[in-house]
Symmetry: D3
């Protein structure tokens, strides 16, 4: 499944970026604003500053970070040195900022909160993607995202070289054990789904045994979710599927465990923790 | 500083909880809703389910998790087994749920996204708090939070036994190196802050050397932030401060490094990563 | 494709219904409110009323209509006589209302604006669906919806027995002539799409000639959009496709033209006007 | 009542247009955005396009349509060829667009959804207005609008040469049969209204018989609503009213029925369907 | 114009009240909430309290005040002693409250901010209304309101016995000197207005001289605004108008100046300061 | 406490100003907009106008006032003559405006509603501040603000030379009589607060007697609120406090009573009415 991506990932539209950043600034500024800077920094003072990576990684979140400054003062100017999705070494410059000191200091934390979190996701993603390079497997993220941040988190996954699984409950069918139990069987669950949803909607079904895999294939699913199987069991399932559907492995994926899973021949490896438990990339804003 | 807390931490008001959860549901449901459950689950089907911890931890986020269900269907009933802030073992039951199957399955992921993230924060916090038990130090969280989630994250820190540093730029003065550079000196920066802010606002100042600590004390600060100092240097600074101000240590705090830092006698240990990089607690919703 | 639907269509979640109705009430009440009723109707007066169809049709929008009353006064009681998706004759009762007269009269127009519009869509849909009964074709609606009303309009289409095509630009790929022109060929456009999108995303491609149909099939599309073709040309295309992809016909669909199109053997018939130009069903609220 | 309008109708203020269009874009883009264009269209590609009428009509909604593009990318440029309220023939150019291809294709449908719907309203309005030209009657629209679209729909009616009746329940008194029943008589209903409302509020009263017309006039109403009367009955009522109040005819108004109604001498003809059931004008965006 | 009002004024609809109060609570609670009460008040403590007037006045704003408590905790119970619009003496009880102490103390200030402000407006209004009792004049408020509070302020005016002039620029025409200057004359300004606006819209025109009054009447205005005239000049103008239009006096209205102005025979006296500069009524919440 | 303020007060961030003004414009324009200007003023007409003070005062609210015009039409140009916080005499020019007449007239009232209200607050504040000049006392405002306007009102207080007490319940602890009663004693209330809140949170406690003052000091409060004491009693309390805490006097503060209170030696004088009952400054917009 791993053709080269035609173009770099696209950020959410500008008005959504601005709206997310405005909410974050409101959260940080409260009613009284940045009382420290207003007390100490002359209104006319200007500073230059640079976003510096303190550790190597993949950059994500620059449109958010730069919006934070311009929302406080449109007079802030920015120069991007390492673009979205670019790799950066420890000490490398991500972007430079010049403008009124109050706006630069006042927006610094909000800008970093977006940039460090999203770059952390992109960096983790890239590490796993690198670990499975050469295999046919794509890394995909899940709906285990942090509330309110899904569109940005999934964009960061794409910047790290990963792909997105469902964005929500609305864009594809994923039949899990509880659905199967309520429908009575894999066959019946898939049949009902096919009858109910539109023709542009794919159907994936969880399978815990090879028998269930076979049942799902017979029912005509587009993809089979193989949860928490060993690499050996995955290989067996992949052989059984034999291209009749997309195969997805999930469960405890790390850069260490991913290669063996990818070697099983699965099409997709899904990992929830790259969005629900990412470590922020260490980035600072150095005033110069 | 470590008197016992009089009462358990209080959750944000109900209307804020509801508003955060409604936004998360909207993000997950899109325009088409939970197409899988609507296709497969009869409208009249009911299920019982339980939130089960897959690993030990501290529970946080139940008001959010339970709201997710009742916002989809007011007919869902919940029973809390381990309350907010309670410790739970692997396999322990956090809460039980009973109601229309569509609502239970449709809200499951949103409920877990809140519960796992916030419980992860509370659990990490509790681990560090336990590590420094017996010292005079309090663990405090910072403004390094995830955009849009600050109030909930800081509440989770309190549930884990930690305290909150500033909630935003608006509620206290924290003078950092850039402010000092722009003001010319620690003395001048503090003087300006004191003149500008209200009498209910405390002033903390970063200090990188003992000379700066002394200067800050002379200027009458309420607290001194000692960033990235060794335990030995911290102990020296604490001796110098000698109760004239609150002392706060920051930088690379983990359950492993915290005891030595606490042993230096500082009043506070601040940690950004408990809110910017927490690992989610592994919790599942088991349908029974 | 036309298995019987397992369950009746599900309405959007209650909080989205309430939010749409609240906005409509705010639009109608302005700052001064229902000045006529407040002037003339005693605050304690109560009325009984009934929604009566003035012409036959399919009912859609009751959750919105009833919310309008309860948002003005929780003391209004409703009894549903003909449920969502039910057929009604001229003179038939859809629902009864009892409560404070001011709330009933004040919410009447907003309630009817939802109910007549959505029932109009369901009724039109049902007419076309009836016209193609017996064929393999499903009727689907498009993204030609009225701004802000998409989720409700698509729900009304389902109530009328139709299906939903894409809900937005985000949930599936639909390659049109402009995309093909920019990519250089159908083959290249499909290849790029396949490489870029997730495994749960289907790809449909517009085709204007049999050659293009063949090219799209070779590129592995999930569905082919046959725009503005005659029934004869459609039949030829369907024969060529031969089950290798879903076939969709579009263009000038009415209850009169639909049977011939359906007879061509296409899987789907898409109609924009059932959502962009529906005639409202004539329904009144009779106070009794 | 039919003096020439001094100036062309004014659009809602820019911030309301932007807010409506932003909501429509959010509805169409979801969390994942225009996945087709992002996959296939190079980020640097630019296109020229033109809004072309596929049938004759009156243009309405350009401010909305053009905002859709600039909200996706401020680099899109537009040139208006046929301005708001202008008549256009089949094949005529309404406006030209030039800019980044992704923004043009991504905003196309939202732009057209506004433009076709509002132009449809303006075109229908103009047809009825033309049918009653030469009479003293004005065509007015009602509160039978689609939820959330009232300000824009009423603006489109003005562009088509019509006038607006009430914008909401708040800006004038309209006493209907239910109010009269609750008050006991036309006389009492009007008296109460007069006592309660401000001096800038006009009062209209529905009348079903000549006796009720006379009663309403005696009570001093500003306008009389004559619902579902024949042209002959209307002429009789107009003669009775004799300029003492504004006369309004309503019920089943079409370009065909309107002339006879207008010939009765009424001041106003009100039509709900021009806003609740308009047919969209057929307009396309042709990329060149 | 001063018939007795048929019914007591009606409050804005519940969802608007709730939305205004929720915003005020969010403003007061910030991210951290009522840190004082959470620290000191046991979660299970309950209190009884009463709203007590510290000075005589007219009560307004109870729906807002009581909502503040129930939004914090639905378990708070209230008993209304002096209803909306009722007169109260110093020391009188307006309402009693019983419930969780944290919610009562946490919502107290927000509740009082609404209640004192709106009761202040009602009380001032009532004082002027009393001063002109016996005359034919009504007291009306203007668009000189405080941003965001217009609907509530105008409701308070009605509770005090006053009437509302325009709610906004949208509900009636008021031609002022600048409009006249731009149109060229009173006659032309009125003619243009009549041609442009709907039949349910009244037209008032400012007049500074008797000549202008005559011109406005000749042009057929519904009302004449007589700004800053002496009582004698007003009487002359009223005589000239002679019932052909409503007469409105404005400018520096107080309980002291109002009687002489009312004695001139004008229909309306408008006062901006009752909404832009009201003194809050002194009300306290006494915990018992 | 009265060092000179280092810099002029800073306005809330631009996006909050714009959001407040947009809401006020929406409130004033309704769905139909400024129907008077649209009827009478040619779309191409331009005007010059000036904000003129009709009485002396301190200017506050210009960013809001000027935003009102540019939100209606970005083509409006403004020139500030008397900046924020500047003193102005009767007849003085605050700012000049030039631009499309419709936008100038349409935004006039909203602009003035902000400007007159906020300048009224700044002017009252300045009057009291002037009355206590030479004393050590600062004037502070309270949480007795008008709903939705707190950030702007507190900014206006700063422009008038006053200081801000708490912005909300969240940023400092203020222990009042009810808290003390619930805790059992001043000592216990303060102890609980100290244990519960963060180190950046100050604690103030109300005291009604010298004994309570002493108790509060012994408990280590940062500030003591002396409510409704005579100047003599205040002086006694100040002597007792003797610099161990900040002293705050409240109750019935006016320019007349303030000097005697300030002479008692208190650090702070708090006044609720400068925000809950300010008289608007009389400012007009003169078209030239």
């Amino acid at each position: 499944m791993n053709d080269p991506q035609p173009f770099p990932p696209a950020a959410p539209p500008p008005f959504l970026i601005v709206s997310a950043v405005r909410a974050a600034l409101a959260e940080d500024l409260g009613l009284a604003g940045d009382i420290t800077s207003v007390a100490i920094v002359p209104p006319t003072a200007r500073v230059r500053a640079a976003f510096i990576a303190r550790e190597p990684g993949v950059v994500a979140g620059l449109p958010c970070a730069l919006s934070a400054f311009s929302l406080l003062d449109p007079d802030v100017r920015a120069g991007i040195v390492t673009p979205e999705g670019g790799r950066i070494d420890a000490g490398g410059v991500i972007a430079t900022i010049e403008g009124p000191a109050r706006a630069v200091l006042g927006a610094e934390r909000v800008a970093l909160n977006f940039l460090c979190h999203l770059s952390g996701i992109a960096t983790l993603t890239a590490a796993i993607v690198a670990a499975i390079a050469g295999s046919r497997a794509r890394l995909v993220c899940t709906r285990k995202t942090l509330p309110g941040l899904r569109a940005l988190q999934k964009y960061a996954v794409r910047l790290g070289g990963g792909f997105n699984h469902r964005f929500g409950l609305d864009d594809a069918v994923l039949i899990k054990d509880n659905h199967i139990a309520l429908a009575g069987s894999v066959r019946e669950a898939v049949r009902q789904a096919r009858a109910a949803v539109g023709h542009m909607v794919k159907i994936e079904c969880e399978a815990e045994t090879l028998a269930e895999v076979e049942q799902a294939l017979a029912a005509g699913v587009d993809a089979v979710l193989l949860d928490n199987m060993t690499p050996a069991a995955l290989a067996e399932a992949v052989a059984l599927i034999d291209g009749r559907a997309v195969s997805e492995a999930s469960g405890r994926i790390t850069p260490e465990t991913a290669p063996a899973i990818a070697a099983s021949g699965v099409d997709l490896i899904s990992a929830g923790w790259i969005t629900h438990s990412p470590r922020a990339l260490d980035i600072g804003l150095d005033v110069t």
